[in-house]
Point group: C2
Chain length 399, copies 2
């Protein structure tokens, strides 16, 4: 057990729908740990707040604050992407010391876990009894050591719904637009793109083709895939991660030939979906359009997964319990205990193991042809998106 | 009262979240009108189905069909944008006659009402006792004679939620991206762009600037608006309709200088939001990004307005009642009876009056500077989006 002290919490990296649920869990547990936790500080814009000495009081908030927090997307404290320079670690420690902070909790992804690990090391080297615990967060689901990451279930639910709805739109309008390409987040890992398949009822349901960063993209295969599905269904719903690369590692949409130039001669980068639309129109003479909801997908709290919300909250609570029990240099993990019924609890992993690794879609989740996901992926991801999806009516199918 | 006969229904134009609710209302009422309505046919892809003789039986469906229909976006019968050639009207009448159709119901927007009107005229000229009733549908909310149009409440709810969420994202990340531009549907009317303001709690809340097709767009004013808001808040959320025009009537993003060229020298059109981002980055040196959810916005049944769903359903029922009571050449309208509490009933308008008119945002709904909406607009639109929006937590504000 650590002695009584103050707690500081920061939020870092790209927003998700449930980061504030983790903050709510931290706050609720910290308030409950009266014997261990004194003041509760929020770092404004994460570690930058520690550098600038910008902290806010989180203890004295109106009674409805916690409930509102759980339905607020993004990061109410403000987020950051700041990489501390070596000399700045001491400055962070100074701020924390000046506020008598004993527990330092950081909600974030790989980079934030790296920052947390270095702060833990700096504190230890300085003989400062600081207990550092990370809370995982990322829509990318690319953190190792944890079954999945808070934030992923909600973006997966968003895409499952969006793909179902886009499919209905495309079916209704197939006499005009035949190809629709959905561009999801995901620079190195295809977890988000894969989640677009979660609304399928039958294996042949849209999205018909899914392209992920884990596999090289071959233009000829893509065009013949699209043509084949079009011949079968009369329309094609395609999902593509924002970054996919050709066999030489060059990102599609950034490769030569995909540059466009504006009136001033500046190169304008096409997005990946835009490039695929252009390829389809040029080579197959089919009408292709794309949806690119951008940041909307990561903060879609209005359709967040209740499972994700609850797990983010519990991860926050677990982090406080770990810190006050004297653990440091660790991250809370999610541990799946069973698939059906789905049961998940929290565990713990060393920050060091998490900080510099990246978990991509394993081979068994990607179809051999590299243009789809497998049933194994669907089994893995289905429990994470919460309540059953709506059942759509079809004219040529029961229901 | 018309004699007993069969009923045919078609869906036409761009999808919405609630067109199928109108179909469900038609189906439910037609089944209830046993004394008047015999077979119930769905035209596959609207009037094109009538031309090709493609009709489906809607009477014999599983019991859960109606409930599923109400939660299915787009148009389960398939939609169309087909403009009948003069000689094709007789072909349509032939198909309808061959199926003993006495009641012809068409769910659609301005163009579909025009088609319906011409079918009614052609039937009358041919001495065919056909009762033609239109059911309004469009996310654009641009039909005259009706307080609002089924489909609008749901897209308005989508954008109210999306703008709130995008605002939280931007606040959290303002140290990196300062300007976010949301591009909504709307080629001639700003109803959809305006709806992004419905999530505001305080008048100064984001979106800070809203540009609609009803006002000419002035680049200098835009840049100084953005700069001013940025100085005040540190970030700017902007909404823009997909088509806005400069003082000479040239669409922004399609004007000279906004063309880009791909590697083959083809002109690539920038979207409106993309052009505004480029202007901001070039002139103000601020980081600007855009969200363009494309067709996702019109079929977002997962966050449909319950008010919109109910009204779409009731409009469908009312259409059947009008037809079997012997009315023809009319469209169902929505008539607002009171604002608080919100009460709305159905009325009727001649198709002819609806077919060739377009309702744009009235002056009293647009701020004098042309860069925002008024409180009068918010009062008009608030009841249409259904259940109260979630309350977000803020650090520097009560709650």
């Amino acid at each position: 057990m650590a002695a009584k002290g103050n707690l500081a919490v920061g939020q870092s990296g790209g927003p998700t729908a449930v980061i504030n649920c983790s903050l709510a869990g931290i706050l609720a547990e910290a308030l409950a740990q009266e014997a261990r936790v004194g003041e509760i500080y929020g770092l404004v814009h994460g570690i930058e707040g520690a550098l600038r000495g910008e902290l806010v009081d989180l203890r004295r908030r109106p009674p409805e604050f916690l409930a509102h927090l759980c339905q607020t997307p993004a990061a109410v404290l403000g987020s950051c992407r700041y990489k501390l320079r070596p000399e700045e670690y001491l400055q962070v420690l100074e701020t924390l010391r000046a506020h008598n902070v004993r527990y330092f909790l950081y909600i974030g992804g790989n980079d934030s876990m790296d920052t947390s690990q270095r702060i833990a090391e700096a504190a230890q080297a300085a003989g400062y009894d600081l207990f550092v615990v990370g809370v995982p967060k990322t829509v990318d689901n690319d953190l190792p050591c944890t079954d999945h990451t808070p934030g992923y279930g909600s973006i997966a639910r968003y895409w499952a719904l969006h793909a179902m709805e886009a499919a209905r739109d495309l079916e209704a309008m197939r006499r005009y637009d035949q190809i629709k390409i959905l561009e999801t987040m995901g620079r190195n890992a295809g977890w988000v793109a894969a989640s677009t398949a979660l609304g399928r009822c039958l294996p042949d349901d849209p999205p018909h083709l899914i392209y992920v960063p884990e596999r090289p993209f071959d233009q000829e295969c893509f065009l013949s895939d699209v043509e084949e599905v079009y011949r079968r269904h009369g329309y094609v719903l395609v999902t593509v991660a924002e970054t996919i690369r050709d066999g030489t590692g060059r990102p599609i949409g950034r490769a030569e030939g995909a540059f466009t130039r504006d009136a001033f001669g500046h190169a304008v980068l096409e997005g990946t979906a835009q490039t695929l639309c252009r390829l389809v129109e040029q080579h197959l003479k089919l009408k292709a359009r794309f949806n690119k909801p951008g940041t909307a997908q990561r903060v879609a709290a209005h359709c967040a997964s209740e499972v994700d919300r609850r797990e983010a909250y519990e991860a926050g609570r677990a982090a406080v319990r770990l810190a006050v029990s004297g653990q440091s240099g660790v991250m809370v993990t999610l541990v799946r205990e069973s698939d059906e019924p789905y049961r998940c609890t929290t565990g713990v992993a060393p920050l060091q193991t998490v900080a510099n690794a990246e978990r991509r879609l394993p081979d068994e989740f990607i179809a051999p042809a590299g243009n789809n996901v497998t049933e194994a992926f669907l089994r893995y991801a289905r429990p994470l998106i919460g309540a059953p999806l709506p059942v759509h009516a079809h004219l040529w199918r029961p229901g």
